[in-house]
Symmetry: C2
Subunit: 733 residues, 2 copies
């Protein structure tokens, strides 16, 4: 290759040629490295003893041929790097022979027999998985390249890699030429094999997309996402440009960010090794490194990603993608010692120079605790399309995620201004996540379930406002994708009140929603109190529903709940058809309180500033679910009927626990005796929290003029309050 900047040494994609010597003399010095190498040797030395199987593709995700091909690429990549580290031939032979087997069958393979995908693959039911295969196999191929004969290289490139790269791009533009995590995988697959083959045409196709595109504007994939929009951009750099915000937030949410980070980062690593002139890690103000930090912060205290949008619960920073991300971010970033702390938790490193560097830092004690913080992540490629706030209590037990993003591409939910709350790594007020059992074949072959659309994406499935029992944007993706919520203000600087406010003007035309979420310290109360104020103004009368999903069992409600002798669904569409209506209460006092106990034996109380006549509808998920696709989930919906304006205000307390061994309750009841909206107009809302010990705390939030230096002045109950900035919080008695 003519380009002077191009490094044509092997290996270079994952293991850098210059790092080879260090890696080959790395054992018995760094425990984390040793542990990883040994675990991989143990695993792969068993694997390479078995015969190589390259079955003709047949099954869906979770089925035999799917799992076999997936294991093949995972094993081949591991074996190939072990070959470089140990210099033991059997690893290389295993990879070589497997690739040659694939080369024998690939060119004659028809499309995968399962026709379900908008972009069917050949080895798997969708191109996405084929692209995964090619990314890992590119790394494997690069790592054993020096072991192969010219003839073998020729066979593999001609019969396997080039045809597959062309198939995943030229032959499936609807997959390759988009802004979407699918396309990122496609771009990276083509780019990685391009780098591994020193094929500039493929590298350029990967970086910049294809000019010729046979897709039609407005065409959609089977998740309902756009394949092509009018001003379509394509290629790896566009996929880095568009979906990442300047804060490193990826618009589909952390679950898909985790999935997409792997190709972003391993391709960046390959580019850094092969094309250092591109300075890919500095691209867009180092957005790839920011993205790793954002992703790590978007986890609960167990390391599980907040499951907003189509996120499967339980995915965490212990995944192999995050092991890789932490190591790459450490090595190509600022060698941040708090990433070493995470790597130690992960218990393994990537088997290349990045992982070796992390293991060395760990062995040398170059470690700092990884700290979670309250943070604001803007959404949109320019950072001006709403965002996501994470509020964490100072004692780090409570974590709240408030979402006011854009739609989030095809994996987004209709959940403007929704939030979810966690304590010590467990859900308190959960987000449902997706309706899918990834790779559980019994459930629709592991693919998305019908209920993802009929339930999980619908607004009523979330802790946010539903007007007239319809979803935001009437559940229409194109409308949703054209809008985003708006951050009004936030302030996380003070322990005693961390607060964020956002608005949504477009989810229901003619209706504006303003939601303030705060975590407040209240004198005499152990845990921070979560306060939620949702103000609605509409030009017409509507019914407003505000669901609150909780985990656990209600112990007490301070209202009379009527529970019938039979259960019917709460509605017929927009997700309501999936909710059994299990009970109804009508608010007859100013406050409604719910006290519950969760599966981890923790006590919670929600205090709602309900108005006379508000309904409380108790619901259980599971109606109209012929195949048991829905998980159980109790909730309560506050309903206000036929009104233009409304304010929902609620306080949520985590306040105690029960020990089944000592059989003692501690902190079984909440600390609040009253919650009252003392003022509400166009400019301000004032809320007073009164504790059982008689302490009164007031929170006043501005509804406009939120600037930090704006002076405010208002009178509540004949008392004047003056302050500067978007809110006032303090004791008033």
């Amino acid at each position: 290759m003519a380009d002077a900047a191009y490094n044509d040494k092997y290996p270079s994609l994952m293991i850098a040629h210059d790092a080879l010597e260090g890696l080959q003399n790395s054992m018995d010095k760094y425990p984390l490295w040793d542990a990883t190498v040994k675990a991989n040797i143990k695993e792969i030395s068993d694997v390479i003893k078995d015969s190589i199987e390259v079955p003709i593709p047949k099954d869906m995700a979770g089925g035999y041929t799917h799992t076999r091909h997936k294991n093949n690429y995972l094993n081949a990549q591991k074996a190939a790097v072990l070959y470089q580290i140990t210099q033991e031939e059997p690893y290389a032979i295993y990879v070589r022979d497997m690739l040659l087997e694939y080369a024998k069958i690939y060119k004659d393979l028809p499309l995968h027999p399962e026709p379900r995908s908008y972009a069917r693959g050949k080895l798997f039911w969708q191109c996405l998985n084929d692209a995964n295969w090619l990314v890992y196999m590119s790394q494997a191929y690069d790592a054993i390249h020096s072991y192969l004969t010219p003839q073998e290289i020729s066979i593999l490139e001609k019969h396997l890699f080039v045809p597959m790269a062309d198939f995943l791009s030229l032959e499936t533009p609807q997959f390759f030429n988009r802004i979407h995590n699918h396309s990122t995988w496609g771009n990276v697959a083509v780019g990685m094999i391009g780098l591994a083959m020193d094929n500039q045409e493929l590298i350029d196709r990967a970086l910049y997309g294809m000019e010729i595109d046979s897709t039609t504007i407005g065409q959609k994939d089977n998740d309902g996402g756009f394949i092509r929009t009018a001003d379509q951009k394509a290629g790896f750099l566009a996929n880095l440009e568009e979906p990442f915000s300047p804060d490193g937030y990826y618009t589909e949410g952390p679950y898909y960010q985790r999935y997409a980070m792997y190709p972003f980062l391993v391709f960046a690593q390959g580019l850094q090794n092969k094309r250092p002139d591109l300075k890919i890690f500095e691209y867009k103000d180092s957005v790839l490194l920011k993205a790793v930090d954002a992703l790590l912060q978007l986890t609960d205290s167990d390391g599980d990603f907040f499951p907003i949008n189509d996120g499967q619960k339980g995915m965490s920073y212990y995944s192999r993608e995050l092991v890789s991300a932490v190591n790459i971010a450490y090595y190509y970033g600022s060698r941040n010692p708090s990433l070493v702390d995470l790597a130690i938790k992960q218990g393994q490193v990537q088997l290349d120079q990045t992982g070796l560097a992390v293991a060395q830092a760990a062995a040398n004690g170059n470690v700092k605790p990884f700290e979670k913080r309250s943070l604001m992540l803007r959404d949109g490629s320019q950072g001006d399309e709403g965002g996501l706030a994470v509020i964490r209590s100072d004692r780090q037990d409570l974590e709240l995620l408030f979402k006011f993003t854009g739609q989030g591409l095809s994996h987004g939910h209709y959940d403007k201004l929704s939030y979810s709350l966690y304590q010590d790594g467990h859900e308190v007020i959960p987000d449902y996540g997706l309706a899918r059992f990834v790779n559980v074949e019994q459930k629709n072959g592991g693919g998305y379930l019908k209920e993802n659309k009929t339930w999980a994406k619908q607004t009523v499935a979330h802790n946010t406002l539903v007007q007239d029992e319809k979803s935001h944007f009437d559940g229409d993706y194109e409308t949703g994708a054209a809008h985003h919520s708006q951050l009004e203000f936030y302030d996380f600087a003070f322990a005693k009140a961390k607060i964020v406010q956002a608005t949504e003007q477009n989810a229901y035309p003619g209706t504006s929603m303003n939601r303030t979420i705060a975590m407040l310290q209240v004198p005499g109360v152990d845990h921070d109190v979560v306060v939620d104020i949702l103000k609605i103004n509409s030009n017409e009368s509507h019914q407003y529903d505000l669901p609150l999903y909780y985990q656990g069992q209600i112990l007490q409600v301070n209202q009379k709940v009527k529970k019938g002798n039979e259960l019917k669904p709460l509605g017929t569409q927009n997700g309501y058809q999936h909710l059994w209506k299990s009970g109804v209460a009508t608010a007859n006092s100013d406050n409604t309180t719910l006290n519950w106990l969760d599966a981890y034996k923790r006590f919670y109380t929600a205090t709602m500033a309900t108005s006379q006549g508000d309904q409380l509808i108790f619901v259980d998920l599971g109606a109209n679910d012929p195949f048991n696709n829905l998980k159980t989930q109790p909730g309560v919906i506050q309903r206000k009927s036929t009104t233009k304006e409304a304010v929902f205000a609620m306080a949520i307390e985590a306040h105690g626990s029960y020990d089944p061994v000592s059989e003692l309750s501690s902190g079984a009841y909440g600390s609040l005796s009253n919650l009252e909206i003392v003022s509400s107009n166009e400019d301000y809302i004032g809320l007073v929290l009164t504790t059982k010990k008689g302490i009164m705390q007031m929170l006043i939030v501005t509804l406009r003029d939120h600037e930090k230096d704006t002076d405010h002045d208002m009178t509540i109950n004949n008392k004047n309050y003056k302050w500067t900035g978007p809110y006032w919080y303090g004791q008033i008695n």
Copy 2:
């Protein structure tokens, strides 16, 4: 005191006078001891700084005055032993002053204002808790006795202890003079304070009960248990004699056994120290020591007690009662080093010579792993009233509890021949346990809920047969108490088949039930397969329901399940009113299979040898539950209608798991392709399990002539089988 055998030295109830010197020179040698002493000093040194509070009794369990008085006795006991160990006066002063405060108010206290109990206490709502108070306070009093002036001793005995002992016995015979855990507490309270005061009258009253008894034959307590039967015995020795079987099983079940063991053992300890001539630990062939072993074996692999009868889930061998039991059993038993292993797990010891001995053994490495085993525990004071079998797989992951006991006094459930299954400490096929939130004030003051009777005790709440939708013995306690199930045979000697069979002839007059439960090793199958065969013969036609409760979410059913658009209760009484009927399937093939995934991401399959026309009714617990007292619980009921004879046969497999981080399923499907009853007559049942790999295993069980040396001979499918003993199991192809 005149009796030569009586040791009148102080202290002697818990800490033996002779052990004082060793205890006072025990620090900085034995880590477990140090840790316990330091933890107690840390806790109690804070406690004694606060002012002593002895509030006028008012609240139910979980409420303020209840919790205060409970903490008082727990703290006083700890402070008193710390006084002996550290010789620091403030501990003694704290106990002395607290007792004097009680002495000031006790004699004028009326009955507790809450009238709910059949035996109201004074400090607490029931005598039971007052007795708890006196047991702990007796230990405290004994431990600080040497610190008190004669005048203080006189005040305490005259104004507090003697009146309380009389109140708990003479004034409440309905509480004191029974065979019941309540009475055990009452007996021990009176006996302990008798020992502490050297009061032979009280000691005798405790040991032998009262002769004068104003209760009436047939009178019952508020749990429905008998207060007095015709041949009533009473007192501590009778309570040791009657409810304990020769194997150490306590007829109320492990949850109450745990509760009762504490008074049994601490009184035994006091008697051993004060009246060694009684040789209490050798009483009834050392039943107290056997009882500790039985109790420890009646736990899952996390140490949680199997929650049969009125047992609250989560109670475990980490409870303070079991710390005490393990230490006392070690010290007064054979110094079994496997008990030291448990003590190390518990992380603390009892603060007396027993705990010191355990800590010394731990420090000296005198430890053997505590091993769980398959075991048979006979029920009944003579061991001839049925029993309880625990079957454990060789790899120790699966634990099954099969129950064919007597009624279990007032805390027993109507669940003849029921079973529950656990894997790695988590429920697979659960027993519901009780309907109560002990010490959670929000739920009926922490007391039993109405649903304990309407649901938890009912037969349909258990994994056993319900005939004509009625509970065993028609839910009548007196009838139930007059009968027990019968062990037919068991054999746990061979890893490849562990098997037990029991029968019940009285639960439904005219109907006999024979149930065989086995854990079988099947060639080519990783986990043991649980096999359940239930044969019913009746002299009339009935409807037979066999519920199977599971934890988790159904993934697949191989039959068409009709799920309606509304839910109605399955019935109107006997527990059926609490079950929502969520779906129905009619068996149209020989096998019905259910495949599910639990909260711990483990896969299970139940394969049922259903007959054409059998119904499968899917149920969810929660109907007719106005106060949310019931927990969620899914289940499926096999229903066979209008038949005299029936055989239910089922195989349950635990076969895999799902990892949400790697998103991989392993072992998502069961290994069995078929389960068939190949023969069923008066003498034998033959069952064939066929695996997907084509291996056929047959189990033949005898229905009579179960002797080990009896020869059997039968022909199935033209092939002759000859064997000796109660069953045959092997491959047949």
